[in-house]
Structures are given as C-alpha cells and as structure tokens.
C-alpha cells in the first residue's frame, strides 16, 4: 500500500507525465486494501499522469487535506497539494459522502474535485452525491477508462491560479457511450459537451480565485 507522503515533500513543478502533461496528484480513499491496491496500480499505469497518495479512511483523508482541525488552517506551502480526491462511498465511521460534504463545506478544499466510487449502482446515492458537488460517480471495480477521465476534472481554463500553477489547457472530454446507463452523470455531461465543461471550469476558476484571497 502506498504510504501517505511526508509533510513538506513537494512535487517537482517540472514533473511532467507522459506526453508533456503535468502530473495530477490523486488522493485515493478506500478502506478495502484490495481495492486500494488495484486503484493505485490503475493510476500508476496511466502513462505517468498521476501521482498517488492513498489512505484507508475518511479521517486520514481529512488529515491529508488539512481539514482535521476545528478551524481548518488555510493552505500553505507544506500541505499535501491534492488535485483530486477519489473516494469510496461505503466506509466505516466516516463515509465517502461525509468526506465529500466536509471537502465541499470548507473554503480551503471546496475547489478540489471529488469523485465517488461504489459497487452499488444506486440512483439516489448518485443524485445525492451530485447535489453536494461530486464530479462523478464511478462503479467498482474500476477500469482503465475510468481513471483516464479523472484528469478531465482537474484542469482549469483561463489564467493560472495559485493552486493551478502547474496545469495546462484542458483536454477534450471523452464522450462515453459504453455503459452510460450505469454512469448517468457522465452521460449527461457528455451530452452537453464542451458548453458544460466550459461553464464548470469558469465556475471553478471563480471559486479558486475567491478562495485564494
């Protein structure tokens, strides 16, 4: 299991994945050691795009994100810079839904995309996660194509923000027609195409600009 990286360990700003694209740091949260190992490998095999930090609980995820204090400290140079959270829905004590709520409730982490994973294709569950701000809801077991599209949730357009200083212009959304009935959120986004993507990223840029002030 990938250990949580040490505090103060920084990503090389020139660290580029395959094809010159910048590395995306993913926080994987899953209480299942089997699933954690598989997701880590899926991410690592994605042409060097992802840097993986993984933890086995929502509580540890909060620590990595700097949200484990009553008053969350503002992001600083030494914090783990997480670009996206990929969390299991069903976990003991703190569920993925609890984690999603905590991330979205906090101004210092609100802009971090959160993608949910679950073995249950439950439409109510999907809707409630979406309503709180989850980017996507992926059915387990994850496949290669599921992790490849994670990158599309992390790239802002327009001027570089403080957090986004290593990011480039967005890739096109990859339209998913296969298994869309099991991934209704993605089917909707694909249908709206680039207009939705641009709107979402404009909103994200606005939130990130205000949260950095």
């Amino acid at each position: 299991m990938e250990e949580v990286k040490e505090e103060g360990e920084e990503m090389d700003v020139n660290d580029c994945g395959g094809g010159g694209l910048e590395v995306v740091r993913v926080l994987v949260v899953d209480d299942s050691p089997v699933d954690r190992k598989i997701v880590e490998m899926l991410l690592r095999r994605s042409e060097g795009i992802f840097d993986v930090v993984s933890v086995d609980s929502g509580k540890k995820a909060m620590e990595v994100l700097g949200l484990n204090e009553i008053e969350a400290k503002p992001p600083n140079h030494d914090d783990q810079k997480i670009d996206i959270v990929l969390t299991d829905y069903c976990m003991p004590e703190m569920t993925g839904l609890d984690l999603l709520k905590a991330v979205k409730a906090n101004s210092s982490s609100r802009s971090i995309p959160v993608v949910m994973m679950s073995s249950e294709n439950d439409s109510e569950r999907i809707s409630s996660c979406r309503a709180i701000g989850a980017e996507d809801f992926i059915l387990k077991p994850l496949q290669v194509k599921d992790v490849q599209r994670l990158r599309t949730y992390t790239v802002p357009i327009g001027p570089m923000s403080k957090r986004g200083s290593k990011r480039k212009l967005p890739m096109a959304l990859i339209a998913e027609s296969n298994g869309a009935e099991a991934r209704p959120l993605l089917a909707k986004v694909a249908a709206f195409g680039s207009a939705v993507f641009l709107t979402l990223n404009f909103w994200r840029s606005s939130v990130m600009s205000s949260s950095c002030n």
Binding site: S32, P33, V34, D35, K37, I38, M41, S119, K140, P141
Partner: protein, 151 residues
C-alpha cells in the same frame, strides 16, 4: 514436468477456471495491469484478498454466533467481501455474497448461516484453485519458460 506440458496444463487449468465460473473477466483485467515493473502484482492483490477474506469470514462467524445478531454488521462485512471478490474476479464468491445480503435484509439467521457456509466453501475452493495457478506459473518460470497469455 517438461516446459511444454506445464504450459499446456496452465492453459487448460486457467480455461477451466473461467468456464466453471470461478473467475471472470476482472481477473483478466488484473493480469493486464501486471508488467515487468510489477511482476507480482496479481499475486500481491490476491494475497491481500485472501487475508482480508479470512478476517471477514471469521468476523461473520462471530457475529452470527451472537444471541442477538447485528444484521447491519453482518451486511457490512458481506458487502466488503462481495466488493473485494468482485475486484479480483472471484465470481462465485461474489454471487454467494449477493444471496447472503438478501438473507441479511430479511434478518434470516438460518439463511445467513447457510450462506456463510456456502461462501466459505466457495472462498476456499477459489483459494485452492488460485494457489495451484500460482504454483504452475512459478514452475513454468523456473523451467525457463514464459507464462502463456490467454487474453
């Protein structure tokens, strides 16, 4: 046993595992993730599955043995076992877990105990099959050959 025979045996054995439903396509996905930089990935994941499953099976026995059964706890454990078995492609274990969850929902203790027995049986069967598979792989590599790729 000579290399050719080992490889043929491996192919036949693996094909049977898929044909008989012990493994499904998810196991193939794991094999496809394995490469030279992680040559033991499948073995590592399956070993984690064995450790995790046996803990869960012990917990299930303990929980179902109580005077007053906590079905929420039973369901949580079965859910986890179903998830990890699906993740490695242990299809028959996963299928029994699905039936097990129905018994939990019905709060049917007798049904749950029957399901526990079945899931144990299926788990130890697939464990034995996978151990044989890994032994064959090891023998093939020791004989200087390469493990046949069936995808």
């Amino acid at each position: 046993m000579e290399l050719g025979s080992l490889q043929r045996r491996y192919i036949d054995f693996t094909s049977a595992l898929f044909r008989e439903g012990f493994l499904d396509n998810q196991y193939t996905q794991l094999q496809q993730l394995q490469d030279e930089s992680n040559p033991e990935f499948v073995l590592e994941v399956v070993t984690l599955f064995f450790e995790d499953s046996e803990k869960l099976l012990d917990e299930l026995s303990r929980t179902l043995d109580q005077q007053v059964v906590d079905y929420k706890k039973v369901d949580a454990h079965v859910h986890q076992l179903k998830g990890s078995s699906a993740s490695i492609g242990a299809q028959r274990v996963k299928n029994v877990c699905m039936a097990f969850r129905n018994c939990c929902e019905e709060r049917n203790q007798e049904g749950c105990l029957r399901c526990l027995q079945q899931v144990r049986q299926e788990y130890f069967l697939v464990k034995s099959k996978l151990e044989t598979l890994f032994r064959l792989e090891k023998q093939i590599l020791a004989a200087g050959g390469s493990v046949p790729v069936l995808w």
